[in-house]
């Protein structure tokens, strides 16, 4: 189990945080996504044997967001 904090600078409203939670469904191995529009970041708890940080960044891009470490 690993936790990573990613900066997401292109969220434009508080519901973007809600949208980013879709990573939990999109990627097997993502356990929990906590995103904040106020802080422009998301904290992801994931199983590193199933998913990598790059997968998370790619997943965020698919949802329309730019996530950086």
């Amino acid at each position: 189990m690993k936790r990573v904090e990613l900066r997401v600078t292109d969220m434009h409203c508080s519901s973007c945080a809600l949208r980013l939670q879709e990573l939990e469904d999109l990627l097997a191995g993502v356990i929990r996504v906590e995103a904040s529009y106020y802080k422009s970041k998301m904290t992801v708890t994931f199983d590193e044997s199933n998913v990598t940080v790059k997968d998370l960044i790619d997943g965020a891009r698919k949802l329309g967001y730019t996530a950086v470490e």
Binding site: H12, S14, A17, L18, Q21, D25, Y37
Partner: protein, 349 residues
């Protein structure tokens, strides 16, 4: 009535577009996808009516939820609506909130992000849980009601306006009109789904932000009117128009009189500028004839005078002697409509 039409148009244009990414882009598209998937699985083919019905239920539920919310906010406003000063302060707070939200939408500085409401994580999780529970019509109804928990910037602005109405029915009607106006966008979005939000967001967010700034300035104007300020935008504009008229006519446009008559109409007061003699008491007669707008709630802030006029009738206001050159502004209780009495000369002068 004018405020309701404005709310309807705001919903149809900026409201619908601003909320597109917040509620439409997420809930409506998720909803449409889920419904479509569910119904295709059951029926083996596309049925436009069956897809449309849950979306319709979603919108009806949303409309009902926001109407109730508007009523509650209007009631809240009534509790705090004490006098013109408190209303003016409320208008300034609304203006601050609106302009801050507009600057947030224009991405001016990260600080402006705090002008929007970020729902707690447990609420977002609850909403997401519901979006995954496809299969019955109760889901779109629940999701529609839950959109009150994630209002977009323009919706939040309209919620502030609902508070400013200071009336349960007024607040409910305002939110009903706004949500009704935004509904077609949601309906279309649910059919044409996710791509539309991304394509249009860039442009329409900016348009919505500019419109919000205009609304913010209007709220500042209302606040200044309620304070009886001579420097509200509407009064300054009126002064310019009046000066141009006088220059054009080569003389004052009105003769001072101790018996003033002011016609109260749906769109304000006629004439907007009255001339009266200084140093003598006078009578201002307010005349209404089938008037149903907020212009009926008449205030003279400097005299701490306020009255709710009947839809049709006359009301006489005693005005004590004023110094020459005094300008006595009057306004409606919302600060939307205004005018002034100018005390020129004594009757002998």
């Amino acid at each position: 009535m004018a405020a309701l039409i404005a709310a309807l148009i705001t919903g149809f244009t900026t409201g619908g577009l601003s909320c597109m990414a917040v509620q439409g882009g997420l809930l409506a598209s998720s909803l449409a996808q889920l419904i479509e998937k569910d119904l295709l699985g059951k029926q083996g083919g596309r049925n436009q009516w069956n897809i449309g019905l849950p979306i319709f239920l979603f919108l009806i539920s949303k409309l009902a939820a926001y109407t109730i919310l508007g009523g509650l906010l209007g009631g809240l406003g009534k509790l705090f609506q004490l006098n013109p000063l408190s209303q003016a302060i409320l208008q300034f707070i609304i203006a601050f909130f609106i302009i801050g939200n507009a600057l947030r939408m224009l991405n001016v500085h990260p600080l402006f992000r705090y002008f929007t409401f970020e729902p707690p994580a447990f609420i977002t999780r609850l909403i997401r849980k519901k979006t995954r529970q496809a299969g019955s019509f109760t889901t779109p109804i629940m999701l529609g009601a839950m959109t009150v928990l994630i209002p977009c910037g323009v919706t939040q602005t309209m919620m502030a306006a609902a508070i400013a109405t200071g009336d349960v029915l007024g607040g409910a009607a305002l939110m009903f009109a706004f949500t009704l106006g935004a509904s077609p966008v949601f309906f279309l979005l649910s059919y044409f789904a996710t791509k539309l939000g991304a394509l249009t967001e860039k442009y329409f967010t900016r348009i919505a932000a500019v419109v919000l700034i205009v609304f913010g300035l209007l709220a500042v104007n209302s606040g200044l009117n309620l304070l009886g300020s001579r420097y509200s935008f509407s009064r300054l504009a009126e002064s310019v128009v009046s000066a141009l008229e006088m220059r054009h006519q080569g003389q004052a446009s009105a003769t001072p009189s101790t018996d003033l008559v002011l016609n109260v109409v749906d769109r304000g007061y006629r004439p907007k500028r009255l001339h009266a003699p200084a140093g003598v008491p006078l009578t201002l007669t307010l005349v209404t004839n089938e008037v149903h707008s907020c212009s009926r709630a008449f205030l003279i802030p400097a005299l701490d005078y306020g009255v709710i006029l009947s839809a049709t009738g006359e009301e006489k206001v005693r005005i004590p002697p004023q110094e020459p050159g005094t300008i006595l502004p009057f306004t409606c209780s919302m600060g939307m409509y205004s005018g002034e009495i100018i005390f020129d000369l004594s009757p002998e002068g």
